[in-house]
């Protein structure tokens, strides 16, 4: 509404609207009594309503909450109006971001009047969209709607129009749009300040004007619908975002895991005698973890299984710093060479340390050669001071070493290796982990020689795992 009081024509126009609306007010009786004889803006009496709007609205707003897709809700609204109000046609236009316009989503009505779904749109420069976009446009009636009869009446008001040629153009533009849509009534759907859509109504089949009660009904329905639509859109957007983030995370995660696998493979490839070692150790670790449900230490990891998998894949990454002649040596290592090999856990931790995302993995890699009784390296940690994942890797690592051929010794039989694990359970290894390993073995989850050993026993013997 314009506040420019110097322009008398605006006041007159204002007056014209106010008078029309107040005549509606006057027509509503305060207490029941006789059915209200509602008078429309132009003095024609309107018969009482048959539809119980209040109960309909209550039912509608309850139902709306259940709609997850705005389109379904709109279909329900359009169908209800069409079935119960007897209008020539009903249509709903909804804002579509990708089309930058209001697209016809649903329509019902008589043949030829029903606008085919998806056939038309109103762009943002459309006069109807424009007036609804500014909520306080003077062409909008007090109920918040635009009515064809009002527009036509405005166009006939020569007194005002002579002084306001612009107004004439606006009214004419609106009339043209309503003619195109054959709309007698347009109801906006707002959410906050955004125009989400417009409800278009044709004429009543009876040829009567819409009553004030009906107008109020449409406006309430439109507002409730707007709320439901906005919620549904919000949820839809949110779900989409969640999916996107999930995808992104999964992609990054895959890259991360595959990088770790590639790195592990590179290390395995450098040491021909431990071919497939990393893969087997990782599988053993995951099998052990399955039997560890309820171990409280697992809860200290942000993501236990993932940390375990990555730590297992990378546990020998430090071997990159061990000279080839030691790794490839086919005879027993000298004590000096063995000292050199022992450095691999520290080297591994040093290599991985700058990768912030690895978090706990670094200390697990550093500690995977520690012994439960404190006799391991590099820090001589003892018992539960050794992080859980490192204790798991230690068992898996040792079992694979025992059951694989090495240049300097023949592999142990599986039964023999299991006995050895039991023997050093509580000294070299955490007994809880050994038990979990044995349980996993019994269940058939420890698959030894999933891949055939490529390197055969060459007769030497030694023990420097």
């Amino acid at each position: 509404m314009s506040t420019d009081n110097k322009t008398p024509s605006w006041d007159k126009l204002h007056h014209w609207f106010v008078e029309k609306v107040s005549s509606h007010h006057d027509a509503v009786p305060e207490h029941g009594g006789e059915a209200p004889k509602v008078i429309n803006g132009f003095g024609r009496p309107i018969p009482p309503e048959k539809l119980n709007y209040q109960s309909f609205l209550e039912k509608a707003s309850r139902t709306m909450i259940r709609f997850k897709k705005p389109e379904h809700l709109i279909k329900m609204i359009v169908r209800t109006i069409d079935e119960r109000l007897g209008v020539t046609h009903t249509a709903v236009l909804l804002y579509k971001e990708d089309k930058q316009s209001y697209v016809l989503i649903d329509s019902k009505g008589a043949e030829g009047l029903k606008i085919p779904v998806g056939y038309i749109r109103l762009d943002l420069t459309n006069p109807l969209i424009q007036i609804f976009s500014e909520k306080n446009n003077y062409l909008i009636s007090e109920t918040g709607t635009v009515s064809y009869v009002d527009i036509v009446t405005g166009l006939r008001n020569r007194e005002i129009l002579e002084k306001q040629p612009d107004l004439y153009d606006s009214l004419l533009a609106i009339k043209k749009q309503m003619d195109l849509l054959k709309a007698s009534f347009c109801v906006p759907c707002y959410f906050k300040r955004d125009l989400l859509g417009i409800l278009i109504l044709g004429e009543k089949m009876s040829g009567e004007d819409f009553t004030r009660e009906e107008m109020g009904f449409f406006v309430t329905l439109a507002n409730d619908a707007a709320m439901a639509i906005a919620n549904a859109q919000l949820i839809e957007n949110l779900q989409q975002k969640i999916e996107e983030i999930k995808d992104l995370y999964m992609r990054e995660h895959r890259i991360f895991i595959h990088t770790a696998i590639a790195l592990a493979a590179a290390i395995d490839a450098r040491d021909p005698y431990t071919h497939g070692h990393t893969e087997r150790v990782t599988n053993y670790c995951l099998a052990i973890a399955k039997e560890l449900d309820g171990v409280p230490e697992m809860g200290r990891y942000k993501n236990f299984r993932e940390t375990l998998q990555i730590a297992a894949l990378l546990h020998d990454v430090g071997k990159i710093g061990i000279p080839d002649y030691i790794l490839n040596k086919s005879s027993k290592l000298t004590p000096e060479e063995f000292e050199e090999v022992k450095k691999h856990s520290i080297i591994g931790a040093t290599i991985l340390n700058p990768i912030k995302e690895l978090g706990d993995v670094v200390r697990e890699v550093r500690a995977h050669q520690e012994c439960y009784d404190g006799s391991g390296y590099p820090d001589g940690l003892k018992g539960s001071d050794i992080p859980l994942i490192a204790r798991i890797i230690a068992v898996a690592d040792a079992f694979d070493a025992m059951t694989s051929n090495r240049p300097y010794r023949r592999k142990k039989e599986i039964e023999e290796a299991l006995q050895e694990l039991k023997r050093v359970s509580g000294t070299q290894f955490d007994p809880v982990i050994v038990s979990a390993f044995l349980l996993a073995f019994e269940k058939g989850n420890i698959i030894v020689n999933g891949k055939k050993d490529r390197y055969l026993y060459n007769g030497n013997n030694g023990n420097h795992e």
């Binding site: 030829g112 779904v117 056939y119 038309i120 749109r121 849509l181």
Partner: protein, 118 residues
């Protein structure tokens, strides 16, 4: 009276366009497929055709070819749901005057028809 033919396999669209242009002083014929369209062009000789591209059976492009064979001067506006540049170019080559993308703006539809008939 100016004669307009609308060809669309959607009943609602035919009805709507018939009503819309009927009120704007046209005699409107409707065809739900290419064959019906060709028969109507022969019989009624419309000046202008609104032709949907994507139709079952004979599609808009094929229909256009046949329409032009019957009446070289017939004016055709292609209507399409998706902007397919290849199809547009082909339609243009075959002599379509204009194309309109769905969802369309009614003003624009009216203006395009008027412009072409001038």
């Amino acid at each position: 009276m100016r004669k307009l033919l609308v060809v669309d396999d959607e009943h609602d669209i035919c009805d709507f366009v018939k009503n819309f242009f009927g009120e704007r002083g046209f005699q409107v014929f409707t065809a739900l497929n290419g064959d019906e369209a060709l028969a109507l062009v022969k019989k009624e000789k419309p000046e202008i055709v609104l032709l949907d591209i994507k139709m079952n059976g004979m599609d808009g492009i094929a229909t256009l070819k046949h329409l032009k064979a019957i009446d070289r001067n017939i004016k055709v506006i292609m209507v399409t749901a998706m902007e397919d540049q290849d199809k547009m170019n082909e339609a243009c080559r075959l002599g379509a005057c204009e194309y309109i993308t769905k969802p369309l703006i009614l003003d624009h539809l009216e203006q395009t028809v008027e412009k072409i008939l001038k």
